[in-house]
């Protein structure tokens, strides 16, 4: 049972770290998966009034709120979000930030709406169960880091006694120690900061001690503005004067987000936010206006020191601030974390295999199948997600399933197939899945070229396409590493099968 729990926790952690690492470049993946959004950032802020027709649509759809986000460097398109009341359908569309023209429906959840939420909530929304599971894994990671630290007290000695060309189990251990000693401060900080982002989910006893509910706490802690609907129709005053007033109060800082609550209602109010990519704390000042008159209703106060600390720590984790060298560093360290977790899991399984050798082949096969599918299989599924994105035409609907859901289906089907493959062909599972990763990654790069014309050279020579070039480069490197792994593993396989008697299964 110990083994089962360990495998589940290990694979959970790997999935969380893998998706988290990928999500460092989630907006770049968005550009790759939604080619219509590969635009140069506009050089001026477009008027929110341009999007008034969409506001009218939101009113007609009885949406609880209507949001417009201005273009940024990493997301160079204007974003519209509102949820239709009827079928709770989410409308999420992009607009050209220079002309205001609507862009074709991207039909993809891409990085920010699939890969990133998978990282912190596993897409299991019922009772926040996904977030709780991730939180549990996070605490397990902290315990493992501390106990690992205690086990490897002779930190520097262990680091310097790293050897290559040793036998399998030992190799995992050496890599695990290396990844651990090199990146330990990051692994610990990224884990605890990730947990602190969701402090109100994990410790409801905190705010329940002094407040009726979370909303009550948030109003005092972060300083929002609330007022209920009047259930009478109301008008929307011109937005430009409100934006002007906000800029005046902010000494010229440009607006980033504009949210209208209770659209179409007499009590509707407009909240305008500054951007938060200029500083680490993930918090933006906002000003609230009455929707029908444009009068200022509320202005957020600066946060208290402890709340600022929470936002700062969250900001360290979510890295929404503008800092490219740090972003690449996070990515590299995240990959190191994935290596740490994968080698830790594999070494641990290897050591338990000797202990449970007598416990029946089936159990061992299932556990090892889980290990392959949960690591190589997950990476292959991610590559498949990108490949299917380039294959499916826009606005595809298949068996009543929309395009963005079809992409998600592909991801999970490939992942489950990887598990099945590992159980059916245990001896060659690793090798074949590595080849699959290489093939899918190369296919993705090739398909990007064929379907969009933005090959690596073209993308590298236009600054607004550097994100796309980055994703393509990442895919090529992944393919290269996968091929290396596959060849190394098949060499070792050939060696052991010629020098030692072959064992079945």
């Amino acid at each position: 049972m110990h083994t089962w729990v360990g495998v589940i926790v290990g694979l959970l952690l790997f999935a969380i770290f893998w998706m988290g690492t990928i999500s460092v470049f989630d907006r770049e993946i968005d550009r790759w998966m939604a080619p219509m959004t590969r635009l140069a950032p506009p050089d001026h802020v477009i008027s929110f009034e341009t999007f008034r027709p969409t506001y009218d649509a939101a009113v007609a759809a009885r949406a609880p709120s209507w949001t417009i986000l201005q273009a940024t460097e990493r997301q160079p398109v204007v974003r519209l979000v509102y949820r239709e009341a009827a079928k709770k359908k989410l409308i999420n569309r992009y607009f050209d930030g220079t002309t205001g023209a609507i862009l074709p429906d991207q039909g993809s959840l891409a990085g920010t709406r699939f890969l990133y939420p998978l990282h912190y909530g596993l897409h299991i929304k019922a009772w926040d169960l996904g977030e709780w599971i991730v939180g549990f894994a996070g605490m397990a990671m902290l315990v493992l880091c501390v106990s690992g630290l205690i086990i490897h007290r002779r930190l520097f000695a262990d680091f310097f006694t790293f050897r290559s060309n040793t036998f399998a189990g030992r190799k995992f251990f050496e890599l695990h120690t290396l990844a651990g000693t090199l990146g330990l401060p990051f692994h610990i900080l990224i884990t605890i900061s990730g947990l602190i982002v969701h402090f109100s989910v994990y410790f409801p006893s905190g705010y329940l001690s002094s407040y009726e509910d979370l909303r009550g706490f948030n109003i005092e802690a972060v300083g929002g503005y609330q007022r209920p609907k009047a259930n009478r129709p109301g008008t929307l005053a011109p937005l430009d004067p409100m934006v002007e007033e906000a800029r005046r109060q902010w000494n010229g800082a440009p607006p980033w987000a504009l949210v209208i609550y209770h659209p179409g209602d007499a009590n509707a109010f407009v909240r305008i936010f500054q951007t938060f990519d200029g500083a680490i704390p993930r918090h933006a000042p906002s000003i609230t206006f009455d929707a029908s008159t444009g009068a200022v209703l509320h202005k957020t106060e600066p946060l208290g020191p402890m709340m600022t600390t929470q936002r700062f720590i969250s900001g360290l984790h979510q890295i929404q601030f503008r800092h490219w060298s740090l972003r690449f560093t996070y990515f590299a360290l995240g990959l190191l974390g994935c290596l740490l977790i994968a080698t830790g899991l594999l070494f641990w399984l290897e050591s338990r295999r000797k202990r449970h050798a007598h416990e029946g082949r089936l159990g061992v096969r299932i556990v090892e199948g889980l290990a392959v599918g949960g690591t190589a299989g997950l990476i292959a599924a991610t590559a498949a997600f990108l490949v299917i994105n380039r294959i499916l035409p826009l606005n595809t609907v298949f068996l009543g399933t929309e395009r963005e859901a079809l992409e998600v289906w592909t991801f999970f089907v490939v992942w489950i197939a990887a598990f099945a493959h590992a159980w059916l062909l245990p001896r060659t599972a690793w090798i074949q899945q590595c080849w699959a990763i290489a093939a899918l990654s190369l296919a993705a790069v090739g398909l990007n070229w064929i379907t969009t014309g933005d090959n690596l050279i073209r993308a590298a020579s236009h600054s607004h396409l550097w994100g796309v070039a980055g994703v393509d480069t990442g895919l090529l490197v992944t393919a290269g590493v996968a091929v290396l792994f596959a060849r190394r593993l098949s060499n070792r396989e050939r060696q052991t099968s010629t020098t030692a008697p072959a064992f079945a299964g």
Partner: protein, 104 residues
């Protein structure tokens, strides 16, 4: 023969104790930590902190407290002492609220 049988039942007992330890640590530790967070969130305002500030401080500390509770659960040899320890922490966490209710 009798030796082997003794070994397997010993293993079964060990497994059960391990399961008990893990359950106690994960659940009992969480309850104890939540109680301490609750108590801190109530106490800190008396030291001059604003209510919402106290809540976020206590909640953030909760992760460190839970980590210590988990490590203790792994290290403490006697399960009874562990359980009593969690219970004591829980009581300490609820105390400020309980006392304020008694005081009217």
């Amino acid at each position: 023969m009798a030796d082997a049988a003794h070994r397997t039942t010993n293993k079964a007992v060990m497994r059960r104790v391990l399961f008990l330890r893990v359950t106690l640590t994960v659940i009992g530790g969480y309850i104890a930590t939540s109680a301490v967070v609750y108590g801190l969130a109530i106490l800190l305002p008396f030291a001059g902190m604003a209510r919402s500030e106290a809540v976020v401080t206590a909640s953030m500390l909760g992760f460190i407290i839970y980590l210590c509770a988990l490590l203790w659960g792994a290290a403490e040899r006697r399960l009874l002492r562990l359980g009593l320890g969690y219970a004591a922490l829980t009581a300490a966490g609820i105390a400020p609220w309980a006392l304020s209710r008694i005081g009217g």
